[in-house]
């Protein structure tokens, strides 16, 4: 009896002890490691390069419509003939597989190919020259990491004398200034970062600076706006408050426009929609803000005086026709007072892109409509329908005139001939 009780007691004690041991030593869940995993140096470099390649929008030109990214082949139509953009995937035979980072940097910085040929400035090396060696190496590392694609480069189709690369020696003397970006110590870190991105990888000057008959642009006219060759869209001046000067925009309005494609002041369409879609929507908030700070601080200079009242003279009939068309077709979205419903539908009252000297963009929008790009921050943009099949040249001219002068807007009238010239172009 006593012996069995002792055994039971011992067994009970042992069971309790075992349960205790199990309780304290039970495996449970693996402790969570909340620290972000440390990426290897090469991974970090490739990630950085991917980001910078997006800022530089390499994919836009180096990819054929519906083609494999970076495999080249896209035709760049210029007034001098067609250029075919090369394959920059790391294929040893047809791409950049055998390139070294030195050779890649020389191309970015000096506009000289691996074989030592001078590049046509369709490649924005006059801007990329500002890119640091460090950033160039990161882009190189990224491009070496993407899948190689075997696709032979197509020969350019340029007329004489433009097919002779030697003429580029002269062009470079006139228009190419080699040199990495030099920060301005008088400005903030943020301004300098913005300046580096806008002037370098962003290559904004490529469109927003007028190009002359030789395909060159002068530094004195930087960001003063210009017609985009062969696209027939006007890239507005970034330095004039009468165009797309951003002096009186808030930083938030500028970053919204760059990253999401829409803002409370305006919306991007056409070639700028492509830039936002392929490139700017991927910018970090910090970089977008830095660009905005730099763009807003660009010195504002209006080279042309505001239009005289004589230039703004409009017949009452035109104004009335324009108003009728506006009320019937446009007011639903842009509202009768022209304030729009931003950011879904941009305001037309006080919108610089509508009142600027050239009416090309406004006419094109009325004719062809347009959707802003679908972006990470605005994946389901509102869009505008085409009116080219509904309104005749007089009606388009009248309604464009109306929005350029109504609500205190300071634009000039548009005539039917200007509309007709743009009607014959295919929308793009």
């Amino acid at each position: 009896m006593r012996k069995s009780a002792l055994i039971a007691l011992t067994a009970g004690t042992l069971a309790v002890a075992a349960a205790g041991v199990y309780y304290f030593l039970r495996p449970g869940m693996l402790p969570q490691n909340n620290a972000t995993p440390q990426l290897s140096a090469s991974t970090q470099l490739i990630n950085k390069g991917e980001y910078l390649a997006r800022v530089g929008d390499c994919i836009a030109c180096h990819t054929q419509p519906n083609g494999v990214p970076f495999a080249g082949g896209r035709a760049m139509v210029t007034p001098f003939g067609a250029l075919y953009v090369p394959n920059i995937t790391p294929d040893d035979e047809t791409g950049m597989g055998l390139w070294t980072s030195d050779e890649f940097y020389r191309t970015m910085h000096s506009g000289i190919s691996r074989k030592g040929e001078l590049l046509y400035p369709a490649m924005p090396y006059p801007q990329y020259t500002q890119v640091t060696r460090e950033d160039s190496d990161a882009i190189y590392a990224y491009l070496m990491s993407i899948p190689p694609v075997k696709q032979k480069n197509r020969e350019h189709e340029l007329g004489f004398p433009y097919n002779k690369r030697d003429i580029l020696v002269g062009w470079r003397t006139l228009y190419f200034k080699e040199g990495e970006f030099k920060p301005d110590p008088k400005q903030s870190m943020e301004w300098n970062r913005g300046a580096y991105l806008v002037k370098g990888l962003g290559h904004c000057a490529m469109c927003h600076t007028a190009v002359n008959a030789l395909g060159g642009s002068s530094e004195a006219k930087a960001f003063e706006g210009g017609m985009i060759p062969n696209q027939n869209w006007y890239a507005p001046s970034l330095t004039s408050n009468r165009e797309a000067g951003l002096g009186n925009w808030t930083i938030r309005e500028i970053t919204d426009l760059l990253q999401s494609g829409v803002s409370h002041r305006g919306t991007v369409y056409g070639p700028m929609a492509e830039v936002v879609f392929n490139s700017l929507q991927y910018m970090t908030d910090e970089d977008a803000k830095a660009m905005a700070v730099y763009l807003k601080a660009l010195p504002q200079k209006d080279n042309s005086p505001p239009p005289t009242s004589k230039a703004r003279l409009i017949s009452p009939e035109t104004m009335e026709l324009g108003r009728k068309v506006y009320v019937a077709q446009c007011a639903m979205c842009h509202s009768e007072d022209g304030r729009g419903q931003p950011p879904a539908y941009p305001p037309l009252a006080g919108n610089q892109s509508i009142t600027m000297e050239t009416p090309v963009n406004s006419i094109r929008m009325v004719l062809n409509g347009g959707y802003p790009p679908g972006t990470k921050k605005n994946p389901r943009p509102h869009g505008m329908p085409p009116f080219s099949h509904i309104l005749n040249d007089e009606e388009v001219a009248a309604v464009t005139t109306y929005i350029r002068v109504a609500w205190g807007n300071t634009g000039t009238p548009v005539n039917a001939k200007q509309v007709n010239d743009l009607r014959t172009l295919l929308p793009e």
Binding site: P65, Q329, C330, N368, G369
Partner: protein
């Protein structure tokens, strides 16, 4: 839309807008919507050509898109965006729109069931009508041509997910598309069944088919055929 938050305000606004336009233009092709944050408002970019509900407009070349299978409409939007279907006004409009958004637009118009607009009935000879009817309803075995309805369904509403309805399409559009297929300007996913068919059609056949289709009174409130009931006479890439 913020300043039209109250529906009755919107009604007053619309009332104010429409009288000015009603005389010359069909109001169903003029931009109009109730809520700013809605699919309806987002597809206003489509309405001047395809109508508010996708019913089509006065211009015969712009097709009715309402009630077509969502898969078909989505495939077309993707093809326009990627440039594999070529029509510059559409290529331009959807160039920078992401897949999920195009899918949403396709589903929106697939779900619409607006009334059919009154068709202009083409004046055709009895022989042309007979040829058209034969091709649409029975095909031409001598040329290896299956009937249109074998894939596009007996009520011409199409078949899920990728075969479009033909009901309510006007001759200008049907002739345009079949001709473009024949010359290789329009393609579908491989295997491209419509290419095989277009290759077997003469220009006269195309006119007859388009004319006969325009004479049909479309079924109201009908939907595309479910895919599990239809065995395609030709293999179609869009039906996989």
């Amino acid at each position: 839309m913020r300043f039209l938050a109250a529906p009755w305000l919107g009604a007053i606004f619309l009332f104010a807008v429409f009288p000015a336009t009603a005389q010359t233009r069909a109001p169903d092709a003029v931009p109009a919507f109730k809520t700013l944050d809605s699919v309806e408002a987002r597809v206003q970019g489509c309405v001047t050509c395809h109508g508010q509900q996708g019913q089509g407009t006065a211009n015969g070349y712009f097709p009715r898109i309402a009630g077509k299978p969502a898969g078909y409409l989505y495939n077309q939007l993707i093809a326009f965006r990627n440039g594999t279907r070529h029509y510059p006004p559409m290529n331009y409009l959807v160039a920078y729109l992401p897949d999920p958004y195009l899918k949403e637009m396709a589903e929106h118009f697939a779900a619409q069931k607006p009334a059919y607009s009154v068709q202009e009935r083409p004046a055709l000879s009895a022989a042309v009508v007979a040829r058209g009817q034969m091709l649409v309803t029975a095909g031409d075995p001598k040329k290896g041509l299956p009937a249109c309805i074998a894939c596009h369904s007996a009520n011409l509403m199409g078949t899920e997910p990728g075969i479009p309805g033909l009901a309510g399409l006007r001759p200008a559009y049907v002739v345009g598309q079949l001709t473009r297929w024949k010359v290789g300007e329009r393609r579908a996913a491989e295997p491209d069944c419509m290419k095989r068919i277009a290759n077997r059609l003469t220009d006269e056949d195309i006119t007859a088919v388009a004319g006969y289709l325009a004479l049909q009174t479309p079924a109201t409130n009908a939907s595309p055929e479910p895919s599990n009931l239809v065995r395609m006479p030709f293999a179609c890439g869009s039906q996989r």
